[in-house]
C-alpha cells in the first residue's frame, strides 16, 4: 500500500482549443479541451493540467467557460495555469472549478505574490511552474536558469535557489519544465529534476521532453519526480494513459491502475 506516482496529461490551450507547440512554436491542433479531458479522465489520468496560452482578454473569458465545462464533467484534480497574475485571477479560476493554480511569470515578477496566494487560498492549490534552461557549459558543474514569458526571457535566477525560495513562500507543488527538452521528445532533463526534487520537501511534477514510455519511467526512477506530465504523446495517441501506466507498473513503479 503506497502512494502512486501520477501521470498528468497537459492540455495547452489557445482560444478554447488544445494545441501543443514544439519548443513553443509550430502549433498543431489536438481538439476540444472538454472532450480531451473527459477522454483522459476515463482512461485513468490521475490529474489534468490545463495551460492557457491565450494572449487576448476575450480569449481568457473563453478559458473560464472551458474550465467550468471541464470541472463539471471531470472528477479528478484540475490544475489551471497560464497568465495568472493576480489574486482575482486565482479566485476566478477556483470558482470556475480549478483545484490548483499554476503560477509562473507572475512569481518571478513579484515573488511575494506566491506568498499572498498561498496565505489566501492555501498551499495545497498553489503550484509554482518553473521553466528552466541549462546554462552551464561542458565541464562546469550543472547549473540551470529560470526563464519566463513562455521561455523567451532569461532572468538570471538560479533554478535550484528559486524552487527552494518558492516552497518557503508557500508553493505546495513544483511543475518543472526543461526548456532544453520541451518538445524534443528526447526525455526529461533527469539531472535537473533530481536536483530540484532533492532540494524541496513538496512534490515535483517533471515536464518537458517525453517522447516514449521509458522516459516516464526514467523521470520517476532517475529524476525522482512524484508525477510526470506529458502532452503530445497522449494527444496524438502515440500511447494511451493505460499503456503508460502498465509500462510503469511493469518497471516496479506504484501507479493507479
Amino acid at each position: 500500500m503506497a502512494l502512486a506516482k501520477r501521470i498528468i496529461p497537459c492540455l495547452d490551450c489557445e482560444n478554447g482549443r488544445v494545441v501543443k507547440g514544439v519548443k513553443f512554436l509550430d502549433i498543431r491542433d489536438a481538439g476540444d479541451p472538454v472532450e480531451v479531458s473527459k477522454r483522459y479522465c476515463d482512461a485513468g489520468a490521475d490529474e489534468i493540467t490545463f495551460l492557457d496560452i491565450t494572449a487576448s482578454h476575450e480569449g481568457r473569458e473563453t478559458t473560464v467557460f472551458t474550465v467550468e465545462a471541464i470541472a463539471g464533467q471531470v472528477f479528478i484534480p484540475l490544475t489551471v495555469g497560464g497568465g495568472i497574475r493576480t489574486l482575482e485571477d486565482i479566485r476566478t479560476m477556483l470558482n470556475a472549478g480549478a483545484d490548483k493554480i499554476g503560477i509562473n511569470t507572475a512569481a518571478v515578477v513579484n515573488p511575494e505574490f506566491v506568498r499572498e496566494a498561498a496565505e489566501r487560498f492555501g498551499s495545497q492549490c498553489i503550484v509554482v511552474a518553473v521553466d528552466a534552461k541549462r546554462v552551464s557549459i561542458n565541464d562546469e558543474s550543472p547549473k540551470w536558469e529560470i526563464f519566463t514569458h513562455g521561455g523567451r526571457k532569461p532572468t538570471g535566477i538560479d533554478a535550484i535557489e528559486w524552487v527552494k525560495r518558492m516552497v518557503s513562500f508557500g508553493a505546495g507543488e513544483i511543475l518543472l519544465t526543461s526548456m532544453d527538452r520541451d518538445g524534443t521528445k528526447s526525455g526529461f532533463d533527469l539531472e535537473l529534476n533530481r536536483e530540484v526534487s532533492r532540494a524541496v520537501q513538496v512534490p515535483l511534477i517533471a515536464s518537458g521532453g517525453v517522447g516514449n514510455l521509458q522516459h516516464l519511467v526514467e523521470g520517476v526512477l532517475e529524476g525522482e519526480a512524484d508525477a510526470v506530465l506529458a502532452a503530445s504523446i497522449f494527444h496524438f495517441q502515440e500511447y494511451s494513459i493505460q499503456e503508460a501506466k502498465q509500462y510503469m507498473a511493469a518497471k516496479g513503479i506504484e501507479v493507479r491502475l
Binding site: 500500500m1 502512494l3 502512486a4 490521475d46 484534480p77 470556475a96 492555501g122 495545497q124 513538496v202 512524484d226
Partner: protein, 218 residues
C-alpha cells in the same frame, strides 16, 4: 426531495464538491438539491450535511467560530447524516498541532498530527509532504458508505496533517504513508474522510452516491 447542505464558511472552493454531488444526484431516482450555504436555518432543513474544509486549520477554526459553524455542525450531528471532508474531518477532533497548536471542535476524540519532515518508505526512499495523490484505503469495518467501493481502492489525498485517535472502534479506513494513518472515521451518523471523494473519480463518486442514500445508521 433529497436536500444536501454543503456548509460554506468561506474557506476555499466548494464548487468541486457541489458539482460532484449534483452529478451523482442526477443518477438517482429522487430529485437532489445541493445548497452551498452558511445559513443555520437552511442547514437545519437539509436531509444531509457536508462539512468540508481546505487550507490551514487556524484560519478554518477562526471562521468556524466567527460564524458559529460549530453549533450548526453540532445540531446536524444530532439529527442527520454528516460527511466531513479533509480539514472538515480534522476540525471535528480535539486539537491540531498545525499553526503552533489549534483547539478544534472536539466532537470526535483524537488529535491532528504533522507527518514529519523526513519521511521514508519501506525501501528507505524519501516521501514528500504534503501527502499528495492517489493512495489506497483499506476498509477496516463494513459501512454503508463503503458499499460497492472495492477494498484498497485509491482515493485522492492532499494534506500534511493526519488524525490520530485512541478510539480504534471509530476508525473505518486506514492508509499508509511511512506508517499507517487514519484515512476515514465513522461514529454513528458521522462519516469523516481525509481524502477528497469529489476528486477521486469513480470510487469517490460511489462514496458520495452512498452518502446521498445513507440514513445515518450503520
Amino acid at each position: 426531495m433529497n436536500k444536501i447542505a454543503v456548509i460554506d464558511y468561506g474557506m476555499g472552493n466548494l464548487h468541486s464538491v457541489a458539482k460532484a454531488l449534483e452529478h451523482v444526484g442526477r443518477e438517482l431516482d429522487e430529485q437532489v438539491e445541493v445548497i452551498v450555504t452558511a445559513d443555520a436555518n437552511v442547514i437545519a432543513g437539509a436531509d444531509r450535511v457536508i462539512f468540508p474544509g481546505v487550507g490551514a486549520i487556524r484560519d478554518c477554526m477562526a471562521e468556524i467560530l466567527r460564524l458559529d459553524v460549530g453549533q450548526i455542525v453540532k445540531d446536524a450531528i444530532q439529527t442527520k447524516p454528516v460527511l466531513a471532508i479533509c480539514v472538515g474531518m480534522q476540525a471535528l477532533m480535539n486539537t491540531s498541532e498545525e499553526n503552533g497548536g489549534v483547539k478544534c471542535l472536539g466532537f470526535l476524540d483524537g488529535e491532528v498530527r504533522y507527518f514529519g519532515d523526513d519521511l521514508r518508505d519501506g525501501d528507505g526512499l524519501r516521501l514528500k509532504v504534503p501527502h499528495m495523490g492517489w493512495n489506497q484505503v483499506s476498509q477496516t469495518i463494513d459501512h454503508p458508505l463503503w458499499k460497492d467501493v472495492p477494498d484498497n481502492s485509491r482515493f485522492y489525498f492532499v494534506h500534511s496533517y493526519y488524525v490520530r485517535t485512541q478510539q480504534q472502534g471509530m476508525v473505518s479506513g486506514v492508509s499508509r504513508y511511512e506508517n499507517d494513518f487514519v484515512a476515514t472515521l465513522a461514529d454513528n451518523n458521522i462519516f469523516a474522510v481525509q481524502f477528497h471523494p469529489e476528486k477521486s473519480q469513480t470510487v469517490g463518486l460511489t462514496l458520495l452516491h452512498n452518502f446521498l442514500l445513507w440514513d445515518g445508521t450503520v
